[in-house]
């Protein structure tokens, strides 16, 4: 091989090498993400029995969705869960983080680990655990309530339509409060201590310090956690699916959008309608995330 052609080869190799190196990812991403995504868009306009038997139905899947009571039940349940995730879970996480960030609290590392540890075991384990805790008459929770209050021994947490959502929220609280606490802790520790000293010099009490120093300092992280919590809540599946033993619960009280999508696609075999539900979910999540970011002023330019 002559010198100029060898140089050309190595020049070509230098140019092509990055593309060759990222090609495995591109191939995998295109096969398992892009192709299914495009396919799901096509499916959303078809009636189907699996991918082989399909018939074009135009917007019929979306029209049906608008008047499908089960879909709206799923939306209502999921929105309720998301509401509690954001407005109960996150304040609790922040409170815990503030507490465990205080210097006067002893064994902080132990408590941080203890509060975070439920997240380590995963949703399925937690759901199985709580399905035992919630058993009427023989379960730990009802026994404890009965021992303290002398009532509630037969409370059917997972069989009473009005109690299924509280049970789900309780379970999620146990699992995620500690997890979000870690984010808040990291954010709190990133706030410049000199700002607190300055605020104290200005005579700010603890509440004013929180409003004018802590909150602005942790706001970007708080917005991130809120958006991620909302997205996570709208994608809720394993927890209710296992907790309610693969059912939507009494009167569909535990039916979430993803559970409905799953049962439509894989129990009824209607991949077309399931795809339409999936795209509706994308739209919902996108709207809520954008709204949250807007409300929290994420895109405001600093003066």
């Amino acid at each position: 091989m002559s010198q100029p052609s060898a140089t050309r080869f190595w020049t070509l190799q230098r140019k092509a090498a990055p593309y060759v190196f990222i090609s495995p990812f591109i191939i995998v991403f295109a096969t398992f993400m892009v192709y299914p995504l495009i396919q799901s868009i096509l499916f959303a306009f078809q009636a189907s029995s699996g991918p082989k038997s399909t018939a074009y139905v135009g917007l019929d899947n979306f029209r049906f969705m608008l008047r499908d009571p089960d879909f709206w039940t799923a939306v209502r349940n999921t929105a309720t869960f998301a509401f509690f995730s954001v407005f109960v879970q996150l304040p609790l996480s922040l409170g815990l983080a503030l507490l465990l960030n205080a210097r006067w609290v002893r064994a902080r590392s132990f408590f941080r680990l203890a509060f975070f540890s439920p997240h380590l075991v995963g949703q399925v384990f937690v759901a199985v655990l709580f399905s035992l805790i919630f058993i009427p008459r023989f379960g730990l929770l009802n026994r404890a309530i009965h021992a303290v209050l002398g009532m509630g021994l037969e409370t059917k947490w997972l069989m009473d339509p009005s109690l299924v959502m509280p049970a789900l929220v309780l379970t999620a609280l146990w699992m995620y409060v500690g997890f979000n606490m870690i984010y808040f802790l990291a954010a709190l520790q990133a706030v410049d201590p000199q700002l607190y000293e300055a605020a104290q010099v200005d005579g700010a009490n603890r509440w004013k310090q929180f409003i004018h120093v802590t909150f602005p300092g942790i706001k970007p992280i708080a917005v991130f956690i809120m958006i991620m919590s909302a997205i996570g809540s709208f994608q809720l599946f394993e927890l209710p699916y296992v907790l309610l033993r693969q059912t939507p619960g009494p009167n569909q009280a535990g039916l979430t959008i993803v559970m409905y999508l799953f049962s439509t696609g894989f129990s009824t075999g209607d991949l077309g309608y399931a795809s339409a539900i999936g795209w509706a979910l994308v739209l919902i999540i996108l709207t809520i995330s954008l709204a949250q970011a807007k409300v929290m002023g994420l895109w405001k330019r600093d003066a």
């Binding site: 699996g50 037969e154 069989m159 693969q246 059912t247 009494p250 009167n251």
Partner: protein, 455 residues
Amino acid sequence: MNRLPFGPAPTLLLVLFVLSAGWLLFHPARGSGEGRVDQTTLRVWVFARTHYDAYRDIIPQFEQAHPGVKVDLQLVHGQAVTSRMQAAFWADLDVPDLVETEISSVGMFWRGPLEEIGFLDLTDRLRATGLYDRIVQTRFAPWSTRQRVFGLPHDVHPVMLAYRRDLFEAEGIDPDTLDTWDEFIAAGRKVTRDLDGDGTIDRYMIELSDTSYANFEVLLFQRGGGYFDAEGRLTMDDETALATLLWYVPLVAGPGRIGNSLGDQQILTQQVEAGYLLCFICPDWRTRFFENDIPRIAGEMALMPMPAVEPGGRRTSTWGGTMIGITKKSQHHDLAWELAVHLYYATESFDRRFRQTNIIPPIRDAWNQPSLDEPRAYWSGQPIGRLYVDLADETPPQYSSPYAQMAKEKTGEAITECVLYYREHGEDGFADFARTMLKSKADDVRALVRRNPFQ
């Protein structure tokens, strides 16, 4: 090495990728039935440990009778069987030769056009071999769609009532006098009560759920009702279903209730052991669960036929079921058929299988086996096999549909709504409410059924 523009590590990764991808490309996963050149392998998926144990014992006989044939029996979780089979049928992937499928999930395989169902149509084989006439006819219903049969029935699953014999005696109840539900309910109202005076009922006559369809449907089947009829029409809101609902709700709600349920199997066993429940609906398969789960109450349990709706009426119903199907993609349909018949209907295996599972076979030839007449200590010395066999021919049909599971869940919703109404209003306007509710839930199912262009 200096000729490698990004250093040796990325290059090594690239080489590994190319090598492994090349290896995978030229060594595809072996399909069903492929093995050594001189050997045929039949792969079988089962979802129940008891079935797995029973088949494992009789497979060597089949292999001896078929030199060069090996049976690869695999135990796969029930839900995994369903989802993996569905995905495999859809994507034309490798599937086992034979698959056991449970009644609650089989309907989803019937959704598409008949020619695209992944299981082999067994109707002609069943008729040609005479098996069709030797098996309890109603047991073909769940495994059929559009008048074609796609699976061999594993069982009959007649239903009896299991009761705490010791507590029945203590309460002065003679099960022989409980021939009708009216008599049963009257006895139940006497024993359902608060035992310790704390205002909470501590003893119920029977396990009946106030939110789920599971117990309700057994009682619906007993009356000849169901979710779908033989032609695939939705019947979950017909007059039989309504009558059953109107009768059922007062049994689980209001002051005259005699039934309750705090949860399924593991919790149920606790309730029975604690004397919280005196009876429960008991198909043959459930007897084995109790023997395994609470051996401590051996000798205190017994079985009785279900009370009839009317004097002289049907004394049983049905709950559950399993089929074995041959996949169309199998390369060995005839061998797979022989294996399926051997696993399910080989006479010499019945005794052992019944002792392992307590499940009576659907084929009448097997009903003279000695194991069925053996007294069981756990069940107060009753020959439970014979008790179930005596009811087997009365077992009602249970028709399947891709929408059966949805119909069940909608029925559960109707029960829940009716229970809530009954607790608040009692009989006042209850019949109209129940009718409206049942129809509304059925209409939800009809709306989905209408959207299926393939049936």
